[in-house]
Amino acid sequence: MAKIIYVDHEGTERAIEATNGESVMEAAIKNSIPGIDADCGGACACATCHVYVDDAFMDKVGKPEDMEQSMLDFAENVQGNSRLSCQISVSDDLDGMKVTTPESQH
């Protein structure tokens, strides 16, 4: 289990307990967190689950694989800490992580 804190673009925080093995996207969808659309359901096909990862956790979430990086290269408002949340797997190491959602996923 890990506590994940989702911060929307206006700064509102929503904390949830996520289960190890599910993705940061899945945890958001199950808890009706606004700001993450995840249209493709986690197939890395749509880039609508874009988040900015808390700098303190950048090492822990690892690097994006080629397909994800390629999707990110073309998403809107990409920053150095951009990730697709469907590709981040929850583990104890991520306890307390904040992820911020962009204003729009489209």
């Binding site: 599910e22 899945e26 969808i29 199950k30 009706s32 606004p34 249209d39 493709c40 359901g41 197939a43 890395c44 096909a45 749509c46 880039a47 397909m67 390629s70 999707m71 290269d73 073309f74 998403a75 489209h106």
Partner: protein, 413 residues
């Protein structure tokens, strides 16, 4: 018609469009009752993985569901599962249920989806012959996905080819039968068909085009042989049928709602009855980027029409209408499709087909109308934007890999 003060909204159907409508109605502030009537035993779940990761056993069942059961309880959504709606009475504003009783509505969303086209040959009812449409189908198929078993797949569409890829990766002996002269004939260009056919052949799939199945034969009620029109007999331990789907319009049609290859809707997913909406595979909608009506069988469409219906009911601004998009995973290939390629008059290839990283653009009178992108997300994402902008691009610019898709898109719109 303002329906935002509705007491009860009924959703007939339990797939992705229905799930989206539930979520969007609550998001848009609907506080009345929501009743979801679904024929399947399961809560709404994702279908795409059924012929991909889930079929292969790489995805746990619980990860298929959009929302856990507790979410529907928390949101006060009454889910009536394994339940068939038998009749819509539009003057009484009620939906009759199979085992008696009825549910009244102030607004109704029909999201009845589609069903597999039945295999029109003798022996189609033998044991070991399966459709690949819902969770229950895959539960029957998976125990038979055993290395060395002989699998015959009827139909080389996306479902058939995805299943072929999974089965090969699990060590089955796979034959794909296709009536047309090439795989994916109805949905893509000859260059893409040739690529996928070569890929499957290289992976050891026996791809037989211009092959017409004549009958299935078996012993003791179980399928054993697929017989082709030319007399060829193929041994088969299992047969999967993927020859297209038919929209479930009967309930709407019988109630007098206008249908024509799908339940006809306007841009807000509203039918010719202002209290009745239709969303997903069953609906024929205006394709705003193409200036025609059509039915889309896709995740994008289910999500978007679910949102459109919810927004219209709640009097919210119409959500954005995206360019249609699709994807397919086969082996290590990710195919991403933007737009609708029907009626193209020119194709342009960008990238290296042999390197398995390329895109085929479809143009009509110089205007970009669709792309099939293999392992090429930038081509896919850029094309979505270009198609929505109605951009025209010269073939030599699209094929010029010395320019990034970002640069090409920025110059074009």
């Amino acid at each position: 018609m303002d329906l935002s003060s509705s007491k009860r909204i009924v959703i007939v159907g339990g797939g992705q469009a229905a799930a989206q409508a539930c979520a969007s109605l609550r998001l848009f502030g609907f506080e009345g009752d929501i009743t979801l009537i679904g024929e399947e035993a399961a809560l709404p779940y994702q279908r795409p993985p059924l012929s991909k990761a889930y079929m292969k056993g790489e995805l746990a069942e619980e990860r298929l569901y959009f929302k856990p059961e507790s979410w529907y309880q928390d949101q006060n959504i009454d889910t009536m599962l394994s339940m068939r709606a038998t009749r819509i009475d539009r003057s009484a504003q009620t939906v009759d249920l199979e085992h008696g009783g009825s549910v009244s509505y102030d607004a109704l969303i029909i999201a009845t989806g589609s069903r597999p086209r039945a295999l029109p040959v003798e022996g189609a009812d033998l044991d070991g012959v399966f459709d690949l449409r819902d969770l229950a189908d895959v539960e029957r198929i998976r125990p038979r996905m055993i290395a060395g078993q002989k699998l015959v797949i009827v139909g080389a569409g996306y479902i058939g080819l995805e299943a072929a890829a999974v089965a090969r990766q699990m060590g089955l002996e796979v034959t794909v039968l296709e009536m047309e002269s090439r795989v994916l004939a109805r949905v893509t260009s000859p260059v893409m068909s040739a690529f996928f056919e070569a890929e499957h052949s290289r992976q050891g799939v026996n791809v037989r085009t211009e092959a017409r199945l004549s009958s299935l034969a078996g012993s003791e009620g179980k399928v054993a042989t697929a017989v082709l029109a030319d007399g060829t007999e193929l041994a088969a331990d299992m047969v999967l049928v993927g020859i297209g789907i038919l929209p479930n319009v009967e309930l709407a049609e019988a109630s007098g709602i206008a249908c024509s290859n799908g339940i006809l809707t306007d841009r807000d997913a509203r039918t010719n009855d202002p209290r009745v909406f239709a969303a997903g595979d069953c609906a024929a909608r205006l394709l705003v980027h193409y200036g025609r009506k059509g039915r889309l069988e896709s995740v994008h469409n289910a999500i978007e029409q679910g949102k459109l219906a919810a927004a219209a009911i709640m009097g919210k601004p119409r959500p954005a209408e995206d360019c249609p998009w699709f994807w397919s995973d086969q082996y290590d290939l990710k195919l991403q499709i933007a737009g609708l390629s029907q009626n193209y008059d020119e194709t342009v290839v960008r990238g290296d087909i042999d390197a398995r990283k390329f895109a085929v653009f479809y143009l009509q009178n110089g205007k970009l109308i669709a792309v099939d992108a293999i392992n090429s997300p930038p081509e896919f994402l850029a094309s979505k934007k270009l198609i929505m902008a109605g951009a025209s691009l010269a073939p030599e610019i699209l094929s010029d890999t010395s320019q990034s898709m970002k640069e090409i898109a920025a110059a074009a719109v």
